[in-house]
Amino acid sequence: MSLENLRLALDVSVFWEYRRLLLAGLAVNFYVFALAAVLAIALGFPACLLRLHRWRPLQWLGTGYAEFFRNTPEYVFLIWVHFVLPLLISALIATKVNFPPLLSAVLALGFSYSGYFTETFRAGILAVPRGHLEAGRALGMPRRLILWRITLPQAARQMLPEAMNQLVSLFKATSIISLITVPDIMYQVVQITSTEMKPLPLYSSAAFVYFLVIFAMSTLVRWVTEGWRTRGWA
């Protein structure tokens, strides 16, 4: 290990020089993260209800959905959504369709993580004691009312810590969107590296920035959920 190289790795001046671009990249990360999170939750919730439906075929459908997306590597799915899905849609509606990279990124991450959210929601709903549902039934509440008034409010608390951990994972996964040329922070770092030829400080600082952001997020999650746990909330 050479000291000169170590000094170079810790030299953040290049990184500082490009701070505008890099911050803009980080903003793109957050943007994709937010959209994908909304999509993942919006898809995960109905899939979870399917998994818990009384009718068997619907259960299988929900289980298949969750298993499919949980078992697909995100990068493979991202590439597939970006390069294959538009072709399939084009063939289907007989007009040329192209996905902008940002759309592919949101779709791929949203669908991928909806599988995880399905499982998280399911665990939360199953954690609600059966007696509560039976009490609702005994009071003559219809199924839908039981779901909205009794099951979901309690399930929401149960699953919040896990759901927030999933969100942190989702943010981590946004780093791969640079591979389909979404101009996120990693994309900018690779671009700057190819013009400046200084991989040492650039990649090191990028890793450090990601570490800071994600560490802050997961610490916040731990801090918040511990507060809930001590109050017997979650």
Binding site: F68, N71, E74, L87, S178, F215, S218
Partner: protein
């Protein structure tokens, strides 16, 4: 079907070779990650002066995306440490760095979950702390934590798709190369995705079966 035979059947050996590389990278990374994770966990718990560096290493592994680590290990480490010297080594190193952090925390949770009485019983039989750790505690950790430990292998396999970015010739790399030769993304990428899903699905079912049996036998 013409296209399928031209792009897939003719090149299936390449895809299979890629799949072999994927599994090779994942297995090496996982073995290294387990040993490294156990070491980090012990250092964190029992070596006071090195506690903070170990925590930093663990948290770094857990809190940076695998893609970023891959680029970092591949482009920065060779200049800093003169190692890794090949993309293959860089690939499994990055995967191992990531997983060792998660595994270290899994091991710690497992060790802390073993009841005090077990330690005391071993001590009262005259066993040394190291022997107790080996014979009593780690065996129980292996059983209670085997689902999380083995699921980490699935995470490694799924993350290993990214080593194609630094030109390790894994399944994804072969698929992207074939796509750029034949310009038939639909067939090639769909078959690739299917292969990955099949592999991960089979592995996850094997793991589930195995850990269920383990739990039935020992608890």
């Amino acid at each position: 079907m013409g296209i399928l035979s031209r792009t897939i059947t003719n090149n299936f050996d390449k895809l299979l070779a890629g799949l072999a590389v994927t599994l090779e990278v994942s297995v090496i990374a996982f073995v290294v990650a387990v040993s490294l994770g156990l070491t980090l966990c012990f250092v964190r718990m029992y070596v006071k002066p090195l506690r903070w560096p170990a925590i930093l290493a663990i948290e770094f592994g857990r809190n940076t995306p695998i893609y970023v680590q891959l680029m970092w290990v591949n482009y920065v480490w060779p200049d800093l440490f003169g190692w890794p010297t090949s993309v293959f080594t860089a690939g499994w190193t990055a995967l191992a760095v990531q997983s060792s952090g998660y595994l270290a925390e899994t091991f710690r949770a497992g060790i802390e979950g073993v009841r005090r009485g077990q330690w005391e019983a071993a001590y009262s039989l005259g066993m040394s702390p190291a022997l107790t750790m080996r014979r009593i505690v780690l065996r129980q950790v292996a059983v209670t934590m085997s689902p999380s430990i083995m699921n980490q292998f699935l995470v490694v396999v799924k993350s290993s798709t990214l080593v194609s970015v630094i030109a390790v010739p894994d399944l994804m790399y072969q698929a992207l190369r074939l796509t750029s030769i034949w310009f038939e993304p639909i067939e090639i990428l769909s078959v690739t995705a299917f292969l990955y899903i099949a592999v991960v699905f089979v592995l996850s079912n094997m793991i589930k079966r195995y850990t269920d049996r383990l739990r039935l036998r020992y608890t």
